[in-house]
């Protein structure tokens, strides 16, 4: 298939998704991602190049999906924590712990990969439960409570690896972060499965309602009979699980466990992904799909800078600027103030969009906007 044809199909798909979402809260997040892609279409030669090798797809967009998996996984846990009015700073360190545990079991204990992965995830869940205990059980402020593990976690990971960088070649572990399924990176499947699982967990049960209720008004939720402590404990534990998965993917990517660098500063990317995805740091309403798209956005940004040869020392500056722009686009106040500039764009989008389906099935009705 020639490039221009696949590009055309891609852009039609992007346009269709945008129109479908035009009344949804996450429109601005997806729109920002679209704009970033438009920029790359014109100014980053080769960004849209796709090629098939051994039946697998390769290209910058595929890289984004693959590399973005870690932040997307983290953001699934983070968005729930933030929805309860908290924050989990320890996810980066928990990633390092999961990586250390799995590779240690694999290499020095010679255990099968399945066991190593299961134990690593179990330890991550425990780490999350520890955070949950501090926040829900002892009422410590989330920033302080999770800061403990953020600082101590890397030390724990160092202890487990005994200060070494553990390399491994186990095919199952390597597959996790490098393998392909249906011609696409396996991590994409992992993210989609986790997204569906989380969606089921919070929207097919009443947990999502309880999370939003607790985040919006803790006291009133308690008066209504919601077990606020249990809800909080659960989201931190779940965030631990997500961090564990992300940690496994991260060490699989580089085929080694480096306790010092795995997941470094990724908690900040995850928080940003959630915010870019439309969820307020004050808690309450949350947007699951938005958070994942936010993660994708941040990875696209990072990859764009790589492609444009922006030095990684300077990259945070333009990154910050773009993120500020996205947050401004989401702000009611900003949008009303600059309505004159923005409304022609919306007007232009509307007539073309009218023939498209009103709601995409992927967005839950809870994701609908306020009014």
């Amino acid at each position: 298939m020639s490039d221009w044809l696949s590009d055309l199909i891609f852009w039609i798909a992007v346009a269709a998704i945008l129109f479908g979402l035009r009344r949804q809260r996450i429109f601005w997040t997806v729109g920002a991602l679209g704009l970033l892609l438009v920029f790359n279409q014109f100014f980053t030669p080769g960004f849209f190049h796709l090629q098939v090798l051994d039946g697998h797809l390769y290209g910058s967009r595929i890289d984004v999906l693959n590399q973005g998996a870690k932040v997307m996984l983290l953001s699934l846990g983070m968005v729930l924590v933030i929805a309860t009015g908290g924050v989990d700073l320890s996810v980066g360190a928990v990633m390092a712990i999961a990586a250390a545990v799995s590779s240690r079991l694999l290499v020095t204990q010679h255990l099968p990969a399945g066991v190593a992965i299961a134990v690593a995830l179990g330890v991550s869940v425990l780490a999350g439960a520890w955070n949950g205990l501090l926040v829900a059980g002892f009422g410590i402020q989330p920033i302080v409570a999770t800061l403990v593990l953020m600082v101590a976690g890397r030390g724990i990971a160092q202890l487990i690896t005994e200060g070494q960088i553990i390399n491994f070649l186990d095919p199952t572990m390597v597959y996790l972060g490098n393998g392909h399924l249906f011609g696409l990176p396996f991590t994409l499947t992992l993210v989609i499965v986790m997204l569906l699982l989380t969606h089921f967990l919070v929207r097919r049960t009443a947990l999502g309602l309880f999370i939003e209720s607790v985040g919006d008004n803790d006291e009133a939720s308690r008066y209504s009979g919601i077990n606020a402590k249990q809800v909080k404990f659960l989201v931190y534990t779940f965030s631990g699980l997500c961090a564990g998965l992300a940690g496994l993917v991260a060490c699989s990517n580089i085929k080694s466990a480096d306790a010092n660098n795995i997941g470094l500063y990724l908690e900040l990317d995850a928080i940003l992904a959630v915010v870019v995805g439309g969820t307020s740091l004050q808690g309450g309403r949350f947007y699951l799909v938005g958070a994942v798209v936010g993660g994708l956005f941040i990875q696209t940004l990072t990859t764009t800078f790589y492609a444009k040869n922006v030095s990684s020392d300077i990259a945070p500056v333009p990154k910050a600027l773009v993120i500020i722009a996205v947050c401004l686009l989401q702000s009611e106040v900003f949008r009303t103030r600059f309505a004159r500039v923005l409304s022609p764009i919306e007007k232009f989008l509307k007539p073309v969009g009218s023939w498209l389906p009103r709601h995409l099935p992927t967005t839950a009705r809870h994701d609908s906007p306020k009014s």
């Binding site: 009443a206 947990l207 919006d216 009133a220 308690r222 008066y223 009979g225 309450g284």
Partner: protein, 507 residues
């Protein structure tokens, strides 16, 4: 001479709600003008548009004949429109002088001139005929004095128009008198004053004219002296006089008590520092009123019965079974419901929708796995929106955007959905307009007729008398009396509170 303030055709819409619809208002210099209306009538919106908190959609405002359009409260202040809000918006830990001058402190090359501040504060207070130690911490003065400091602060900028939004809601009678004395001084100085309150007595005591709003429209402007009280009420709620009078005369009959076995039986239940041990029975089909002054232990009793606090002595039996509540969750399992005194803190979940707020307690009692389907939730929400007459553009409206009375109804709906056996209502009518009040009272009576046990807490004695078959009187965190049926009257309750206080040795 043109009026001091003239508003013409002012309109303001929020998504789904027309909050103000072409409202006119004229306030003369040297007059106190009451702005009346039920909750949700548009009073606060009008004030907020006038002072630049919200932008207007249409209409004109003229101050002393000059067209104005302030974009912020600060700009409005500079133009001469000052506002004092219901809750005192001052900083308790700063001194009186600092509170009066903060944000516009006189400076000398960047440093604050403390002497000038004190002088200016004293001058501002003098205008109210008030002399305070301006260097003392504000919180060391009573709420009433703090209120006056707030007014002094508002007057410090050369105010022409003073807006008082429910300034008396936390003041007692003598404090109100004191405040009114000051307002009369200001009126003589030629200030225009807009006065918002729920207390009809005060309107007739101090105001010169009344503008009534209803559903965002102006009903009319009247001279206070020429408007009989009953007409004012009927203008506010938009019903004819007969209905209003009928409402005032309903008195609960006692015929519905289902059985003599109490639904809830508390014996010597108490908690140190909260409430002295007391006995309390509530039977199915009975409304028990809990009367007493503020701080007498009414809310504390409710908290014990709902498991928010745990009693450290005594027993509670439900249907003859001894129970122990560790949290509201346990109490809810025994089909107890409670609407709290403080709606904002412990009641509504402000940024969730009406539907979500209504299903919340029922869903919580079902746990997270047995989720009510969207269709069930919508049915439930629609049923209560209709049966309780909740005024909302849709069930997906964010609760924060509803008026106080409608928020209260949403809370009632939340608990009615759980089909409770005992309903504890802590001040269900506080801060609610007359119409919603009457509806809630009617609802309580119909619940009673359906065989519910109701514990009704209210500061308004006449309401307690009207609603209850039995009244428990509390004083100083102690149960002092219990009145039944014919013995219940405002007089009897007041006497009971007073007589028991005289038993105590004079301090």
């Amino acid at each position: 001479m043109p009026p001091l303030l003239e508003i013409a055709g002012l309109s303001k819409s929020f998504p789904g709600v027309k909050a103000l619809d072409a409202v006119d208002l004229a306030v003369q210099a040297g007059e106190i003008h009451a702005l009346m209306g039920e909750n949700g009538a548009g009073k606060s919106t009008l004030i907020k548009v006038l002072t630049g908190v919200f932008p207007r959609d249409a209409g004109e405002t003229r101050l002393s004949g000059k067209e104005i359009a302030p974009k912020s409260p600060r700009e409005a202040e500079a133009l001469g429109i000052s506002t004092v809000y219901q809750e005192v918006n001052l900083i308790p830990h700063l001194s009186v002088a600092e509170n009066i001058c903060i944000g516009r402190q006189p400076t000398w090359i960047g440093t604050v001139r403390w002497g000038a501040i004190a002088k200016r504060a004293r001058a501002a207070l003098a205008r109210l005929d008030l002399s305070l130690d301006v260097n003392r911490q504000l919180s060391s003065y009573s709420i009433a004095i703090q209120q006056m400091v707030a007014i002094a602060r508002a007057l410090d900028v050369s105010a022409k128009l003073l807006i008082l939004d429910e300034p008396t809601s936390s003041l007692d009678k003598t404090e109100v008198d004191e405040l009114f004395k000051k307002l009369r001084i200001l009126r003589q100085d030629g200030l225009g004053i807009i006065f918002i309150t729920h207390f009809l007595d005060q309107v007739y005591e101090i105001t010169d004219s009344i503008t009534v709003l209803r559903n965002g429209c102006r009903v009319g402007c009247f001279a206070t002296k020429e408007l009989p009280r009953i007409n004012l009420v009927s203008h506010m709620i938009g019903r004819n006089l007969g209905q209003v009078e009928a409402l005032e005369q309903t008195r609960a009959s006692t015929a519905t008590i289902r059985s003599e076995t109490p639904m809830l039986e508390a014996r010597a239940m108490g908690k140190k520092g909260s409430i002295q041990p007391l006995d309390l029975d509530i039977r199915p089909g009975e409304v028990v009123g809990l009367a007493g002054l503020l701080g007498s232990g009414r809310t504390e009793t409710a908290r014990l019965l709902f498991g928010i606090d745990n009693p450290d002595q005594g027993t509670i039996r439900i249907n003859n079974q001894p129970v122990k509540f560790r949290s509201p969750r346990t109490a809810i399992r025994y089909r107890i419901a409670l609407t709290p005194e403080d709606r904002k803190v412990a009641g509504v979940i402000p940024s969730l929708t009406v539907r979500e707020n209504i299903v919340l307690a029922l869903q919580a009692s079902r746990g997270s796995w047995r989720r009510l389907s969207i269709v069930e939730q919508e049915k439930l929400a629609d049923r209560f929106i209709k049966s309780l007459g909740i005024k909302t553009p849709s069930r997906e409206q964010i609760v924060r955007n509803l008026s106080g009375g409608n928020q209260q109804k949403v809370l009632l709906a939340r608990w009615l959905a759980t089909e409770p056996k005992l309903f504890i209502l802590d001040e269900p009518t506080r801060g609610i307009d007359v119409g919603a009040k009457a509806e809630i009272e009617k609802l309580i009576q119909s619940l009673r007729q359906d065989g519910l046990a109701v514990l009704f807490i209210s500061s308004e004695l006449e309401e307690v008398v009207r609603q209850s078959q039995r009244v428990v009187v509390l004083r100083d965190r102690r149960k002092v009396d219990e009145l039944t049926e014919a013995a219940i009257s405002e007089q009897a309750i007041m006497e009971s509170i007073a007589s028991h206080s005289s038993e105590r040795p004079e301090a």
